[in-house]
Amino acid sequence: MANNDDVLVLGGREFHSRFILGSGKYSLPLIETAVRDAGAEMITVAVRRTNTVDEGNILKYIPEHVTLLPNTSGARNADEAVRIARLARELGCGDFVKIEIMRDSRYLLPDNQETIRATEILAKEGFAVLPYMFPDLTAARDLVSAGAAAVMPLAAPIGSNRGLAARDFIEILINEIDLPIIVDAGIGRPSQACEAMEMGAAAIMANTALATAGNLPLMAQAFKEAITAGRKAYLSGLGRVLSRGAEASDPLTGFLREDA
C-alpha cells in the first residue's frame, strides 16, 4: 500500500500523521517541534488553561493546517465536560473535542461511565468526540454506541512514561472495535509507540515523553519514525515466529478421503 493512501479519518477529516500531541506539559518550543519534527497534524489544547490575555496564547503558535483538539481536562463529571466542550466551540476551537473526565487527582484515571454520558451528549451536538478512557471493552462498545469518533484508551497512567502496561486490553479493543483506537497516555519511548502501532493502533498521543526528552527535536523525529515503522509493520502483516519445540507430528488430516 502506498503511504499516501494510508490516511487516518477522524470526524470526517483526513490525517496523514498518526502522531497527536497531548497537552500535559506545554511549551511553545514543544508545539513547534511537534509540528515540524514529529509531523503532528493535531494538537491538544486544555481549554481550562487557555490564557485570556493575548500574551503567550498558544493558539497563535499553532499553524493553520493543524487541527485543534480542545480537551476537557479538569472536568469531574459529564456536565462539566459538556460545558467545557461548548465553551471551546464558542472560542473558535472547532468541532473536535477530547473528553477527559477524572475524579481521581492522584493517578488521573478516567471515569468511563461519565465519559460515555458526555460523549453521547456532545456527539448529538455535532462534535467529533475523542474520549479518553480506561481500556474496558464494554465501555468502549458503549462509546461507539454513544457516537464517538475514536476510542482513546490509556496505555499506562498519564504522564508515567510506563509504556504499554495495558497492552492486552488495548489489543482487545483494537480487535473488537470498528473505530480507530488511539493510544493515549503512558507512552514513554518511541519503541513503545512502535509496538502499539504494530498491534494495530490507529495513532499515538503523547506529550510527556517529548516534553521531558534531553533533545526535543531529536526525540520528536524518533517518535515520528517509530510510529511510521509500526504502522508499516502492521499494514504489511508480521512474519512468522517459530515457537520452540516441534509441532505435533501425528497428522490430524489423515482420515480425509480423496473421493468423498
Binding site: N175, A248, P251, L252, F255, L256, E258, A260
Partner: protein, 420 residues
C-alpha cells in the same frame, strides 16, 4: 455444476395444472417473483450487515491468493477478513495439515476436549416452498406428516430416555400447517424433557422470535443455503423462502427477540463453496460484533441426495475442501461453535471433532415420527411416519456416539447452559 436441470423431477402425483405451474417456474424466470421483494408482513431491518458481508463476497477472487498470503494468515494471532479469504482459497490446500494443527490448538484452548451432543426432531415435513434440491419441496412426491402434540410428546419421551438433553426442533417451511402457535406449543413441551431447545424453522419477525423464546426456545438456526443471490433465485423458485434478504436478517431478528444464540450456514455445493463459506463466516462475525453478547455457531452441510433424486450431491466440495473450510472457520472465529451433522460419515466426524468441530448430532432421524422404530428397533409401530428430508450417513445412536467420542479422548457433553 452442470445446471439445475438435474434437480427437476416431476412427481406422478401432480395434477396437470400443478405440473404446468411447476414447469413455468422452472423454465420461465419471468414467472418468478423478485427474490428481493418482501412479502406482506415481513419485517425489514437495517441492511448494514448484509452490505458488509456482500461487499467482501462480491469482490472475492479465491484464485488470486497465493501461498504467501496463506502463510501470512497462518502467522497472524488474529486473522482478519483478508486472511480468511486466503485460508479459504485454493492456495491454502497444501497447508491443510498446518491449518488443522492450529485449528486444533484453538479449539482446545476455547472448548477444552469437550464435544457437545444434540439431536434433531422433525415435527412436520409440509412445505410451501419450491426449493429444487430439497426433499421437502412442495412438488416432491413424499409422505407428508405433521406430529400432533401427543405424538410429539411421545417422540420427545423416546429421545429423552436415551439421555439426550438438547433438542433441535425442525419443521418444513409451512406457516399454514406449522403455525407459530404450533411451534410454540412444541417448544413448551420440549422444555419439559430437555434443558436446551433450539429451533430450525421458517424465518419469522422479531416479535415472533420473542414469543418462541418465551415458549422455551433459546437458539435459532437459519441456513441461508447460498449467499449467491443469482443462484439463490434459480434454486428457490417459489414460496416465502424465495425472499433472500428476509432470510439473511433472520439471525439478527432472533437476537433482538431475546434468543441467546444463533447458527449460520450455507449448504455447500449449491454455488461456489469458497464464496459461500466466506459469507457464512463473515455473517456470523459481523453479527457477533454488533451483538457482542450473542453466542454464534456455524454448520457446514454439504448437499445430500433426496428421495426421488439421487443425483443431488456436493459437487466439488470433497472432504479435504470441507476440512479446509472448517479449519478456516476455526482460525477466523476461535470462539464459535461448529456443528457437523450426520450428513457426514462417522469417520469424517470422528476426525473433525479433534480439529475444529464442537458439536455433533447423534441418534438422528430426518423423517417424521419414527424415533421409536429407529431407537428401539421396533418395526411396524410407526407405519405412517413422514419421509426424510435427505439421506444421512452417520446413524450412530447417542450411546454409540458417546462411546466413540470417549475412545477418541474427548469428553461428551449433553448440556452446558441453563435456560433463563
Amino acid at each position: 455444476m452442470s445446471g439445475e436441470n438435474s434437480f427437476f423431477v416431476d412427481g406422478k402425483h401432480l395434477s396437470e395444472a400443478a405440473l404446468a405451474r411447476k414447469h413455468q417456474l422452472e423454465n420461465n424466470p419471468a414467472m418468478r417473483k423478485s427474490p428481493l421483494e418482501y412479502l406482506p408482513g415481513m419485517e425489514e431491518i437495517e441492511p448494514d450487515i448484509r452490505s458488509r458481508v456482500m461487499g467482501h463476497v462480491d469482490s472475492y477472487q479465491p484464485e488470486q491468493y497465493t501461498a504467501v498470503d496463506v502463510r501470512r494468515a497462518l502467522n497472524r494471532n488474529r486473522p482478519d477478513e483478508e486472511d480468511l479469504k486466503a485460508l479459504l482459497s485454493p492456495a491454502a490446500a497444501p497447508f491443510l495439515e498446518e491449518m488443522a494443527q492450529k485449528a486444533r490448538n484453538l479449539t482446545s484452548r476455547h472448548f477444552g476436549n469437550t464435544v457437545y451432543m444434540f439431536t434433531p426432531l422433525y415435527l412436520a415435513n409440509y412445505c410451501e416452498n419450491y426449493c429444487i434440491y430439497c426433499g421437502f419441496n412442495c412438488y416432491n412426491d413424499i409422505q407428508r406428516v405433521q406430529l400432533t402434540s401427543e405424538q410429539m410428546e411421545h417422540e420427545m419421551q423416546v429421545i429423552a430416555s436415551s439421555g439426550m438433553e438438547e433438542i433441535l426442533l425442525l419443521t418444513g417451511e409451512s406457516r399454514g400447517k406449522s403455525s407459530l402457535e404450533y411451534i410454540g406449543g412444541a417448544c413448551r413441551l420440549a422444555r419439559k424433557y430437555f434443558r436446551n431447545v433450539g429451533l430450525e424453522i421458517y424465518p419469522v419477525n422479531t416479535e415472533e422470535y420473542r414469543y418462541l423464546h418465551e415458549c422455551g426456545a433459546d437458539y435459532v438456526t437459519v441456513f441461508q443455503e447460498t449467499y449467491d443471490l443469482a443462484k439463490y433465485e434459480q434454486l428457490h423458485l417459489a414460496g416465502h423462502k424465495r425472499v433472500w434478504p428476509y432470510r439473511f436478517d433472520a439471525q439478527e431478528r432472533a437476537l433482538r427477540g431475546g434468543m441467546r444464540g444463533v447458527a449460520f450456514s450455507a449448504l455447500l455445493g449449491l454455488s461456489d463453496f469458497r464464496r459461500d463459506a466466506l459469507a457464512t463466516a463473515l455473517h456470523a462475525y459481523y453479527i457477533q460484533r454488533k451483538y457482542p453478547w450473542a453466542e454464534i455457531s456455524l454448520s457446514c452441510p454439504r448437499l445430500r441426495p433426496i428421495i426421488n433424486n439421487d443425483s443431488i450431491n456436493p459437487q466439488d466440495v470433497g472432504e479435504r475442501q470441507l476440512c479446509q473450510i472448517l479449519c478456516a472457520y476455526r482460525l477466523f472465529l476461535p470462539y464459535a461453535g461448529i456443528t457437523v451433522s450426520s450428513r457426514e460419515s462417522a469417520s469424517f466426524r470422528n476426525g473433525i471433532v479433534k480439529i475444529a468441530a464442537t458439536k455433533v448430532s447423534a441418534g438422528v432421524s430426518t423423517g417424521i415420527g419414527d424415533h421409536e422404530s429407529k431407537y428401539e428397533g421396533r418395526e411396524g409401530v410407526q407405519e405412517n411416519a413422514g419421509d426424510e428430508q435427505f439421506e444421512i450417513q452417520d446413524s450412530r445412536s447417542l450411546q454409540k456416539m458417546t462411546a466413540d467420542m470417549s475412545s477418541e479422548g474427548l469428553q461428551p457433553v449433553l448440556n452446558d447452559y441453563l435456560y433463563v
